[in-house]
Symmetry: C2
Subunit: 407 residues, 2 copies
């Protein structure tokens, strides 16, 4: 019997009508002989309502209490969806993160899943029950409620699928699959039937906002077959596959173009150069739990060095404060920043066996008068930082240059 | 250092403004040197909103999932109140029922508290934290979320006070204390400075709706000093005391007059009389978790017996169905019912040492042409069932007859 984990986000369960539609869908799948675990988010709008209540109380709510507050959103959904399934004749059962022991670390609002106890779920499945699990939430070692951060329900779904060794984990979204790039930016963007987890990971972390990075990491680590599909229309979606040894020869050169708006870069200049400089700068930044992305260090001739890195724009002010505090301590010259930048990346496992991808990228950008501020490369991607207002031009030019509209 | 448990109901935390007011109040008490645990209900209106969502999904939601749904209401309040306290400088901490192991039986929507683990709370109190606990909810042995039923937050407060051996448990309500009877019915009704737990128990269970019966039972069992006060105005409220041996000689004859509208009575007539008849009739009723109140059995001369009992009016139809099902099984004659009755009771520990209370009551009612349908007595109360439309007349006449307006 096939065991499937399905995940529905806030829009898909955003009203009683949508919850009923999801219940109908699940009953059909169950009748087809699938064992089903469903992971759901808070009803769309609910999280914002709760955040509004908190912000009426205080400008700086404690992360612990925010997690207690926000986790109620998914709890409401699991109860309602279970009721809808029970009404349709399935003895469905709901579980909060704590109830199925979704154990996380204790970083409130950005917790990471460490472990899941699947015994209760397995027992319910054996009894023919559809199991409904609250996404986005867990508990730390001491029993405090934690949340996983943005898109955390995807991670919950994959983690549950891994713990149960599910046959497939299906993420229902408002798009019908993974595209070569954002169709809102490039009209010729094309849905991919499949994509490797590595490519997906790069695409997700680079801003193709369909899936949360961590959920793809999890899926890759435990080889969970992951499928992205639309919750509004029928279709095969995009299957995320796991590359086998040697198969990359036949892979397309690149699979897609990802981009990320809302980036910011910070530079601390003229630091006396010695081993450990990067750690001295980025250690205090990472203590604030900001995700640092591209990092570049330039050693100058006078024994001084500059360190530049990018962060999400929302973390810009906080990081700037940290850097300013470091200037005196490190004997640095000054701090500069720019919060109007964007990142564009070409991604593809085919790069491994084909040279020239980076060159094509740089030439295309140059032909379009787009200045490259920073470059970062990995085995399967090349990323550049550019001015934000040139982002659309860059993505369209690159989509053309790599002929991504043609299968 | 004094350890106090304070409980605030839905109206008292019904808006951000009210939550801020409660936080201000708690900070004052904390500054006075009190160690504080606060038990709160869902914000007023929230429970109805959640019930509305459920009823849009199904007419008969499963009790288990209703409890998952409704328990989110208190969880929202504990987070918001903790944030409000943190903003005022206290490192407050919130706990759901599950998080402080409020263990209950598994009767969803009417669970009873079995045990509370107070270690976490005590630890927080020792650190100077105000501890905020979700009322109304717990978890059963298997970790399922349960709720305690109407007024359950009072029970939570008393149970927490008992577990912590608190110096006092204060229940903040929309009234400023316990009255000799409902001031809306009798203009001369008077606030009592104190009342014994036994009297309070009779008054609460008989319909002086200030406190839930179970909370008073708990308080009596663990001798928790319980005080009822207004959350809207300053005042001493009413302290619930525990009678000492021999002190009842000085107690007033009766303390108050309780009444209960919305009652119904059912009679199953002509049952062949033999030992076990009451059990055969009331067993199936109690399996539906309906609270049966007054019970009367009349044996007739022909070896037949009638059994009459009262239940809350909302349970009338369900009980009628059960009784109809029993008529054939027990070889009874028929079933009758009346859902337009009310109960009036005079309550007082002084009754133990004074005769004549029942007589005064019966004479007063007779003088006012009020027909008594059923009578039930205990050591400290006499209750009568009368027509509902004579209730106000009866309560006023009895309040006068026992001179309750005079201290």
């Amino acid at each position: 019997m096939t065991l499937i984990v399905e995940k529905f986000g806030g829009t898909s369960v955003g009203s009683v009508e949508r919850i009923n539609a999801v219940a109908d869908h699940l009953m059909r799948k169950h009748a087809d002989g699938e064992k089903l675990v469903v992971v759901v988010s808070a009803m769309s709008g609910e999280t914002n309502r709760l955040i509004g209540l908190a912000s009426d109380i205080t400008d700086s709510p404690s992360p612990r209490e925010m997690d207690v507050l926000l986790s109620t959103g998914e709890q409401v959904t699991i109860a309602l969806l279970s009721m809808a399934l029970q009404k349709r004749g399935n003895d469905a059962r709901s579980y909060t993160g704590g109830q199925v022991s979704i154990k996380t670390d204790n970083v409130h609002s950005r917790a990471r899943i460490l472990n899941i106890d699947s015994v209760k779920i397995q027992d319910d499945l054996d009894k023919g029950r559809i199991v409904v699990v609250a996404g986005f939430q867990g508990v730390d070692e001491s029993g405090n409620i934690t949340t996983l951060g943005r898109g955390g329900s995807d991670t919950t779904a994959v983690a549950v699928a891994a713990a149960l060794r599910a046959d497939e984990c299906r993420i229902y979204t408002d798009v019908d699959g993974i595209y070569t790039t954002d169709p809102r930016v490039v009209s010729g963007a094309r849905r991919l039937d499949s994509i490797t987890a590595e490519e997906m990971l790069e695409l997700a972390s680079l801003g193709a906002k369909v899936l949360q990075t961590r959920s793809v990491e999890f899926a890759g680590k435990y080889k969970v077959p992951l499928r992205v599909l639309s919750s509004f229309e029928e279709g095969p979606g995009t299957l995320i596959t796991y590359e086998e040894e040697g198969s990359s020869m036949e892979a397309p050169l690149i699979s897609g173009i990802a981009f990320q708006r809302d980036e910011a870069k910070l530079t601390i200049r003229g630091i006396p150069d010695h081993p450990g400089v990067a750690h001295q700068v980025l250690g205090p930044i990472s203590e604030t739990h900001v995700n640092v992305d591209v990092i570049i260090q330039n050693a100058s001739e006078k024994g001084l060095t500059d360190l530049t890195f990018t962060v999400p724009r929302g973390d810009y002010d906080q990081c700037m404060d940290v850097l300013k505090g470091l200037v005196t301590k490190l004997g640095a010259q000054d701090v500069k920043g720019d919060d109007k930048i964007a990142k564009v990346s070409v991604v593809g496992v085919g790069m491994r066996s084909h040279s020239g991808v980076a060159n094509t990228m740089f030439k295309t950008l140059s032909d379009n008068d787009i200045n490259i501020q920073m470059i970062s490369t990995s085995e399967i991607k090349v990323s550049v930082i550019i001015q934000e207002d040139q982002l659309e031009l860059a993505v369209n030019a690159l989509h053309d240059a790599f002929e991504l509209d043609v299968k």
